[in-house]
Structures are given as structure tokens and as C-alpha cells.
Assembly symmetry: C2
Homo-oligomer: 232 residues x 2
DNA sequence: ACCTGAACACCGTTCAAGT
DNA sequence: ACCTGAACACCGTTCAAGT
């Protein structure tokens, strides 16, 4: 009802807009509506600013996305000291995973920007570098850590990569296949799905215990690497 | 110079437009210019047709993308008979990888559509089902094949997922870091990069032997699974 | 010198008007 | 009944006109 500035509450509609404010507004918007719905115009609107004002702090949308990735990488826990390489890597990767689960759009943006850029951003480089450092301190040769980084690739800044994620709240398929046809055409999937559904330990409704599956895969890889290391 | 139909060459500008023609035109355009540059309008133009004509064969752009994925899955070699599960899986995954390398935009589209859809398309389901079938025929329990599918996840319809791919032909970074600063800030990356650069066996210029790295990671996973299988 | 509105060249998709 | 042009509601970004 009152458009002029009130005495008691300065209304502060004009906090001085910085790159940080732009980036965190962008991250918040992406968290809410996904990265496809993210536009320069909407970020500006959320900040109470004209669209062109953003271009004073980021050169273009790609640079904005790079900045958003750096914000995310900053959320990954720093490496733990006083442990062996295996638990240090394990904790770090699981911390990265938690970040990825908080920001569902992260893998998409990271992957597409990594593909487009000649070099990852410094923040990503720093993260990768400290990962390599943990392996090296654990006694890995340069060659073996090279392979290890490639093996870990998809999990380092990885993907939860669930093939059959919880499907509630997604586009419902108007002409979905009837269960009988499913069972006839895809017997192995059906068998597997049935086993999962009847497993009392599995999470009700969602089917797969994503966390368990992720750790299972991670440990399989880490054990394999450890075996190679011992063989030196 | 001649706009009317010639006698010798019927000019056939009006092949009757089918869903298949639309999809293969879309795949060809994506192969050329990437999926970001793909638009309904450009597909129509390539087919010599008005944009709205496409909507007779695909309901919307998402359905178009789903159809394109099916075209790609159709390019993966069928499972080989007369072999053990390990070589059968290996061949199939490597065939999928070759498809992914032919269509650089594939992983991006597959990942984003898998995330959006409640169920993968039937063609993708068929592929996954026959994969599970190979494991089952190899003696895997339903439980173990369940885990195996999760482990293989990122490689099944996977990602080449190279962290440091050949950077030629990508956006050059105007303010790239000087090598000395690189070495100081990222010692481990530098060490690794140097070792790779001085390895006479590595591919000149591109740095990493992507194919070798992919197979290294794949075999590490497969060997781990085999060990679990033997332990039954 | 700084800021910004209008404009440009695009999108996917709707819809009513044409045949 | 079919087909399609124009239009709608968006984009990211340029640029010239305002202060």
C-alpha cells in the first residue's frame, strides 16, 4: 500500500548487486524451477533489476553457468586429513554426491559446460587437483592415478545416474504400457523389478535404494583400484 | 536457374514426409550442428516443409527427441550369441560407445530425456532388457544383476566422460592461465599432464588415449563383478 | 561515463483463417 | 477435412538513445 521508503524499515530494494548476488540468485532459481526454466530475464526479475544490469557482472549466459558451477563446487567438503586415501576419496566423492542431489540440475550444467570449455573453471581444477593429491599421497604412481581419475570420472563430479529413478512427479505417460505387455516384452526388467518390489529392505515406493547402489558401485571401483595398487 | 520440374530428373521435392524422414533429418542436423542448434524450424527447412507440417508426425519437440534416441539405440549391435556373458556385455557396451562417439550430442539428450520421462522409450527398454538377459544367462542372480546394472549405469548407454578431452576447436579462453601459474596452483594436474605428454605411447596432441581409458575402466568393473559372481 | 529501453533475430506452439 | 500463415509468449544479446 506504501510505495515510498518507510522510516522504520528502509525497504532496501537496492542492495548493490554483485557477481555473488547474481550467482546465488541464479542457483536459487535453478533449484526451484530447473535450469531449462532459468533465463537472464527471470534472474533480473528476481533481483528487482532490469535484465541488462546483469551483463555488468557476467559477460553472458555461459559465464553465468560457469559461475554457478563454481558455487556448487564450493559446497563440496574439503578433503579430510588424518586418513588413508581410500576413506578420504570416499568421503569427498560422497560429499560431491550430496551436493549433486541438492542441485538436481548440476550434472546437466557441469557436463555441458565441461564439453564446451577448453579448460574447466579454476574452482573445478582445484577440486580435481586435490583429488589427485589424495591418490598421490596414498602411494599411487602418476600412471595409476591417471587411470584412477578416468575410472572415477563419472562419479567424481558424477551422476547419480539412476536408470529407474522415483518416477512420481514426472510427466505421466498418457499411453503407458499395460503391465502384462511389459512382462511379455521385457521379461528380465520385470523379473528384476518384481524382486526389488518384494524386497522388504528396499525403500517403499521408490524401488531402488539409490544410496546403497551408489556406494556399492563406488566400493567395487575402489577395491579394484586397491588391488592394482598392491600389485604395484 | 530452372525452377520448374525437369523431365529427366523429376526433382521429387515432395517425398511424402514420414516420422522416419523427420527423425533422420533431425539426427543428421544434430550430428552437424549439435542439439542446441536443433530447432523445429530448421528441421522443417531442411525437409523443404513448413514448420507446422512436422507436428503431424511428432506431437512436440520432446517426442521428437525421444524418437531420435530410438534411432540411436537402433544403431547398437544386437547381442552376440555363442559367447560368455563377459565378452557379450563387453562387445555390446563398446558398440554403444561407438554409437555415442558418432553422435556427440547423444549422451546429453539421453540423460535429459531419461530424467524427464517416467519410463524410457520401448527401444531403450528393449536394449536394457537384453543386457539384463545376458547377465542372467551368465548365471547372475537377480540381486547381483540388479547391482551390476547400477554399476554399469554410466557406461551402458554411457558417457565417454573424458575430463580432459581434446580441446582443439573449442571456445578458446581469452584469459587462459599462464603455464607457470597452472603448475603452481595445480601441481598434481600438471604432474599428471606432463607424464601423459611425455609418454611416447600416448596419442600425439590429444593427450589421453580415450579408448584405452574407457576399456581400462570397463574391465576393472567387469573383473570386480566376476569376483563377486565366483564368491556367489 | 554510465545506464537502459527498444529492437533484433531467434524459439516452440496455438489457433484461426484459408482451401 | 486438411493444411498453414500469422500470431503469441517467450529467449539472449546488441545498440543507440537517453541521462
Amino acid at each position: 500500500m506504501e510505495t515510498t521508503t518507510q522510516a522504520g524499515s528502509p525497504a532496501q530494494p537496492r542492495a548493490p548487486l554483485s557477481k555473488e548476488r547474481v550467482l546465488s540468485a541464479a542457483v536459487a532459481l535453478a533449484d526451484e524451477g530447473g535450469v531449462d526454466a532459468l533465463s537472464m530475464r527471470k534472474i533480473a526479475q528476481a533481483l528487482g533489476v532490469v535484465p541488462m544490469a546483469l551483463y555488468k557482472h557476467v559477460a553472458n549466459k555461459n559465464e553465468l553457468l560457469d559461475g554457478m558451477i563454481d558455487v556448487l563446487v564450493g559446497e563440496i567438503d574439503p578433503p579430510a586429513g588424518n586418513t588413508d586415501w581410500k576413506t578420504a576419496i570416499r568421503r569427498r566423492v560422497l560429499s560431491a554426491r550430496r551436493m549433486l542431489l541438492r542441485h538436481t540440475w548440476a550434472t546437466e550444467v557441469i557436463e555441458s559446460r565441461m564439453k564446451a570449455r577448453a579448460t574447466p573453471t579454476p574452482a573445478v581444477m582445484e577440486y580435481l587437483d586435490s583429488m589427485i593429491g589424495i591418490f598421490r599421497a596414498g602411494g599411487f604412481s602418476v600412471d595409476l592415478v591417471h587411470h584412477a581419475m578416468h575410472v572415477m570420472g563419472s562419479r567424481l563430479l558424477g551422476f547419480s545416474q539412476e536408470l529407474f529413478e522415483d518416477s512420481s512427479g514426472r510427466e505421466p505417460d498418457p499411453d503407458a504400457m499395460p503391465p502384462e505387455e511389459m512382462a511379455a516384452r521385457f521379461p528380465h526388467i520385470t523379473e528384476l523389478a518384481m524382486a526389488v518390489a518384494h524386497d522388504p529392505d528396499s525403500v517403499v515406493g521408490s524401488g531402488c535404494d539409490d544410496q546403497f547402489e551408489f556406494e556399492f558401485a563406488l566400493d567395487l571401483t575402489l577395491d579394484g583400484l586397491e588391488r592394482l595398487l598392491r600389485r604395484n
